[in-house]
């Protein structure tokens, strides 16, 4: 069965996404990295579904897809406003509140 290698791949992808999230300052990249992480989770679900021969994994993928869509729209809306207000997409620049 391919489910275990797929899970390993999912874990790798998740890790890569996390690395991207942490290492990129541009907020767009961070969003991309998050997409990768979500994808990794989706892959893991599908691997699980494959392992147990169930359709639930695939259905979960469907919902994750919905989430990604909804979320990206909101995120991009915020990104637009941010770029407008702060004139930058540098995530580290948004640190007026601290302490």
């Amino acid at each position: 069965m391919l489910s275990t290698p797929a899970l390993v791949l999912a874990i790798i992808l998740f890790g890569l996404g996390l690395i991207g999230l942490l290492s990129r300052r541009n907020i767009l990249y961070m969003l991309l990295s998050l997409e990768i992480m979500l994808n990794a989770a989706a892959l893991a679900f599908i691997a699980g579904g494959a392992r147990w021969g169930q359709v639930d994994g695939e259905i979960m993928f469907l919902f994750i897809l919905t989430l990604a869509a909804a979320e990206v729209s909101v995120a991009l809306g915020i990104v637009l406003q941010l770029s407008h207000r702060f004139r930058t997409l540098d995530a580290d620049a948004f640190c007026e509140m601290r302490g």
Partner: protein, 495 residues
């Protein structure tokens, strides 16, 4: 889906329908007051369906949702809190959101978030869990950045967004791992599979930890607490209130159900993890709040600590723990509503009043408002006559009952530390009014003495809750006991 399922689901269906109604109302005609009333009534009607739903509870509706006493109780809490927040929001938005375009969606988003909260309370399946989680988080994200012309809300929104998606990713991946190992998606089946294992697979445990990290992020438990102060500070104050109350209560309801049904508290690693989170949260929250000069941040740090206390209660395990947690969460919601409510009302009079010095001598100029804040602070500090004391008492009782001596000691030690910053704010209320400011303000004070009746009613409601629970908590305790037994009964009923 038979009729009884619909009855059981009536709160969720009701609110869902009202979301759509509200959306249509907005599309039809924009009117701030009308939409606010509409939102308020939506919650009220939904609240009214709870007793109806209770007649068929406990009942599992498909595999996704379980409507039982526990869920209904939390729904009641969430809806009441939302109502108070709606009532507080109206004037706040009127004063803070000057642009006339698009203030109404606020209420729609609020209702959607609450809808997500309701789903979370009933969730018994990974799908409903995660969808409720996201509904709540996504709506909140927009709400936090709702004052989109200002820098702080936007900054808060982007922080919340990124971290909440991170939380979702962790959560989802964790759920996926759980699914991968156990092949089941309902909490109950997962719990069953756990019981069958001789040793819990590492991957499963890793998944569980990831799930718990996701939850901890939403609850703001240290070391996953970092977003809390920034978001609390940046978000519009009613939304801050919302995050502090509804969002956390809903997640806590879910955690409780997860803990009960999966039986994770019987796994030593999870107990250790929670203990660690509890202690770190208490210490971090309290230490960070010590010298904080921003009221909203201060309350944010205090909320971190409070959920540390809740974890202590949770760790006790068994019915007393569930009781204590629920009681504490209800109490915490009441006092947060009180504290943030005052900040909201005070900020509704021009400019955010979130510096500690803004509150200097408030008692002499605005005794009722200051009194309300004082009451909430005392409650947060756990002084008798207020609900906070009973809550803390409950938590300590649960902890002692389970023999968690070190955690209980940490709890009381931290309570003492926390007194310092509550008192700092408390004292400020009774400080001397600065002379230069006092004189020109005479006129404005007269004018702003008028607090909208909505604020009076909502704060009065919260105050009475705090006091009644502080003096005669027995009815609520009985209610919670029933709901807890309900929660446990569902577990017992399942094959």
């Amino acid at each position: 889906m038979i009729l009884q399922d619909f009855i059981a689901l009536s709160p969720i269906l009701d609110l869902g329908a009202f979301c759509l109604v509200t959306m249509l109302a907005i599309a039809f005609r924009r009117n701030h007051a009308r939409i606010a009333v509409c939102a308020f009534l939506s919650c009220l009607f939904t609240l009214a369906t709870l007793p109806w739903a209770a007649t068929v509870a406990p009942r599992a509706v498909t595999t996704l949702l379980v409507v039982d006493g526990h869920a209904l109780l939390y729904m009641g809490l969430i809806l009441s809190a939302t109502m108070v927040i709606v009532a507080l929001s109206y004037r706040y938005l009127n004063s803070q959101f000057h642009e006339q375009d698009g203030v109404e969606e606020y209420y729609l988003l609020l209702l959607l978030a609450t809808f997500g909260g309701l789903v979370l309370t009933t969730a018994a399946h990974f799908v409903s869990f995660f969808l409720g989680f996201e509904l709540l988080g996504l709506s909140l994200c927009s709400l936090i950045g709702y004052l989109r012309t200002r820098r702080n809300p936007l900054e808060a929104a982007v922080k919340y967004l990124l971290l909440s998606i991170t939380a979702s990713a962790f959560l989802l991946f964790g759920l996926a791992l759980l699914y991968f190992e156990s092949g089941a998606m309902t909490f109950h089946e997962v719990g069953v599979s756990v019981k069958q294992w001789q040793t819990v697979p590492a991957l499963w445990l890793g998944g569980l930890i990831l799930v718990l990290v996701g939850i901890a992020l939403k609850l703001g438990l240290a070391p996953f607490h970092m977003w809390i102060p920034d978001v609390y500070q940046g978000a519009p104050t009613p939304i801050t209130t919302y995050i502090a109350t509804v969002s956390k209560a809903a997640v806590m309801a879910l955690l409780l159900r997860l803990a009960t049904e999966v039986g994770i508290l019987e796994l030593p690693p999870v107990v250790h993890l929670f203990s660690l989170l509890a202690v770190v949260s208490m210490v971090t929250g309290n230490v960070l709040a010590l010298l904080q000069e921003n009221v909203k941040r201060l309350l944010a740090y205090s909320s971190i600590a409070h959920f540390g206390y809740v974890l202590v209660a949770l760790l006790a395990g068994g019915p007393p723990a569930a009781e204590a947690v629920t009681f504490y969460v209800i109490v915490y919601c009441a006092m947060s509503l009180g504290a943030f409510g005052v900040v909201t009302v005070y900020s509704s009079e021009g400019g955010d009043k979130d510096r500690v010095e803004d509150y200097q001598g408030l008692f002499w100029t605005r005794p009722w408002l200051a009194g309300m804040l004082a009451l909430s602070l005392l409650s947060l500090a756990g002084i008798p006559v207020t609900a906070g004391f009973i809550g803390k008492f409950y938590a300590i009782t649960a902890g002692v009952d389970a023999g968690l001596w070190w955690l209980v000691l940490a709890l009381i030690g931290n309570s003492v530390v926390s007194l310092y910053y509550y008192l700092r704010l408390f004292v400020t209320l009774f400080g001397e009014v600065a002379v230069q400011e006092a004189l020109p303000q005479q006129g404005t004070v007269q004018r702003s003495e008028f607090v909208s009746w909505t604020a009076v009613c909502s704060l009065g409601f919260v105050a009475s809750i705090i006091l009644v629970l502080g003096i005669y908590p027995e009815p609520l305790i009985q209610l919670i006991r029933e709901s807890v037994s309900n929660l446990l009964m569902v577990v017992a009923q399942r094959p």
